[in-house]
């Protein structure tokens, strides 16, 4: 009797420890590489530091300075302008491509699907380097053609013109991302029931009516998803302007929030203030994402 109780107790003990044993590798990695840095950076945002042994508590001073820091607000403006521009163009463009490639009368659909999606396989750093070459003054391909069409005219300094910064970044980002959105929307389009279109035909709906009342509602969750991740990605923009403009860009139009965080942290060496900028960005992304989810009802539809 006693041995049976011990055996049951041992099994219970082993079964209660077993899950933790299986979880421990993840928990260890999560704690070391995610949890600790997050907690440490929160603490750092309330400190001023210049290296080990040179750290002291400054309370809210970093956040107070940030409120009056015009460069931070300029970075916010640039980042939000890019994000809005990106979403406004990417989603309709991706949807247009998806609608086109969903048609059965388009030849070589598989090839075009891969071709449009393949741009997403290139990293943004590589694309930035390519655009740097394409837009190069005088020797870049565009200026060479321009030189042939308008001989004697000064070449166009694409990368030196402040008003061209946003369009260039948008074109480069869209070049990477439109195909990615297209794939998602294509899958969504193919999941819209055929019978819904038949019902719309019976009701006398035309192409526009079918699109507005059948297609859009059917793909709405994916649209909302794309807008959400596009917003998050846009607000985190860094490597494209960093590589393309090697810093702030002309007129500081390429200064993004993450770019500013990087400059503060690694050019000036003020990790405390950089952490504060980072956490404000987290709050900004969280707020915008939460607002989007609430306004669009994302997630509620999936659960019914």
């Amino acid at each position: 009797m006693a041995s049976k109780a011990a055996e049951v107790s041992g099994r219970r003990l082993r079964s209660s420890k077993a899950p933790w044993l299986f979880l421990s590798p993840f928990l260890l990695i999560f704690t070391v590489f995610l949890l600790y840095p997050i907690v440490r950076s929160i603490i750092l945002s309330f400190q001023q530091t210049a290296g080990p042994g040179a750290t002291h508590w400054v309370g809210l001073a970093n956040y107070q300075f940030l409120i009056g820091d015009r460069l931070f607000w300029l970075a916010c403006l640039n980042t939000i302008a890019f994000t809005v521009g990106f979403i406004v163009v990417q989603v309709p463009l991706s949807l247009g491509l998806a609608l086109l490639l969903n048609r059965k009368d388009v030849r070589a659909r598989s090839f075009f699907r891969f071709a449009f999606f393949a741009t997403h396989l290139f990293g943004s750093v590589f694309i930035a380097v390519v655009f740097n070459v394409i837009l190069g003054s005088r020797d870049g391909p565009i200026n060479r053609v321009y030189g042939l069409l308008a001989p004697g005219e000064e070449s166009i300094a694409f990368l030196s013109e402040p008003t061209l910064v946003l369009p260039i970044l948008l074109v480069a980002a869209l070049w990477i991302s439109v195909g990615y959105g297209m794939i998602y929307l294509l899958a969504a389009l193919q999941s819209v029931g055929r019978e819904l279109y038949d019902a719309a035909d019976v009701d006398g709906a035309g192409p526009v009516g079918r699109f507005l009342h059948v297609t859009l509602p059917g793909i709405r969750p994916v649209l909302v998803f794309l807008i959400l991740i596009g917003t998050i990605g846009g607000l985190q923009l860094f490597e494209m302007p960093y590589v393309l403009y090697q810093g702030d860009g002309p007129g500081r139009r390429a200064l993004t929030i993450v770019g500013y965080l990087f400059a503060i942290g690694f050019t000036v060496g003020d990790l405390g203030y950089a952490s504060a900028v980072g956490w404000v960005l987290v709050l900004l992304i969280g707020f915008i994402a939460a607002a989007q989810i609430r306004l669009t009802g994302f997630g509620r539809e999936a659960t019914g």
């Binding site: 001023q48 290296g51 402040p162 690694f266």
Partner: protein, 469 residues
Amino acid sequence: MPVLVMCALSLVSGAVLAFSDEFGATTDPDALTVWLFDPTHADMFRGSPETREAGITPVTEQFENLTGRAVDVQLVGVRPLDLRLMSMSQSGATGPFVPDLVEIEINSIGKYFRGPKSSVGLLPLTDRLREAGLLDDLLSSRVAPWTKDGEVYGVPMDVHPVALAYRQDLFEEAGIDVEGIKTWEAFHETGLEFSRYWSRHGHPEYRALEMPRTNTSILEVMLLQRGINLVDQEGQVHLDHPLTLDTLCRYVRMAAGDKVVGSQPASGAMQWARELAAGYNSSLLAPDWRLALIENYAPELAGKLRLRPLPIFEAGDVPTATWGGTGFAIPRGSDDPDAAWELLKFIMFSEAGDAARRRHTRILAATPASWDDSSLEVEHEYWGGQRVGQLNVSLARLVPRRIITPFSAIASAELTVVLMRAIAWLEDGHDPSRLPETVRPWLAQAQADVEMRIQFGRFDEPEDASHGQ
């Protein structure tokens, strides 16, 4: 299917890298690790295929033969090197992955000096230099950027005196004697003549001088000629200094507007050398590190180029300045700082190190004693028989003191914004005579902004920590 293909390619390339000797690190765990970002400096340390073929023993092997310590030279990109070193410095890292000797680009050194001396992630070298009798061997104006509160943390490798390299063929054909130009004002007038001549002769794209409109590299060289560092050693900002305003306005008048003589250089590695060859920029400011690059990237210009001291703005200015630079430092986390110091001494102060530097670079060392070398008397055919080394030596003695602070980069960025704004204002058709009164408040605002950031970012000792409040 494409995913499988990509996975296969990744595995194959990873295997090639893992098993390739070319990318393998040294297997000697006691080897001193050196991080460099400049390929020519890497050749200086470990030799190039040409020098090895000629039977010349690389300086690192000479060091190993003398001391028994191997040296592992690693070429790291300038930005990654800076980021890694900064991370190590901020975290107080120690261990085998911390290099023993690093090459630091001069514009990066300021941020390591933000905190108190105890927090600097580099080893203080003043006592070591003094004990070895080497401190006085170094040009003091070049030691200044590597010094914080009287403590030296890096040994400068170079002086980088700046001369003016110009297309003698193009200027001569335009009837212009460049050697006779004394001032930048005279150069401006001459530049206009140059443009007019070549416009009439089928080359309206030829401009007299490389003048960036989106960065202040040339502008800051000109400011240095007039003794202006944007932020001085006491942390005083000089963006609203009258000389800064005057120099900026003159620069803008040369770089833009109806009397433009300057041309924006193209982006891209060494494009400026190709543009010199094409005539788009028929002269440019040439520190010694640009000379070998011009020769490599514009070989067709052999015999067509000349060097001369810079024009000045007014009496009292210096006909040269300095641009760029590198120094060697020992991270605090080095496993063997004594051995690293021996290596540093060997590279920078020995005859073998001098010889290696002369073989692989055209740069002038920061040790005036090495300026007597006969290699500096050579007449360079590429430069029309000019004794380029001698010219650089004469300029090196005049190089003004360059100060790098943790906030110099911020001040440069603010000046860049004002420069671009001024150029845009001028090109909008405004009256050039109103340029100074227009730019003055912009510089004042930039000055105030930088001062605010210095006040905020200044690291106070804990007992009087104010953090700008």
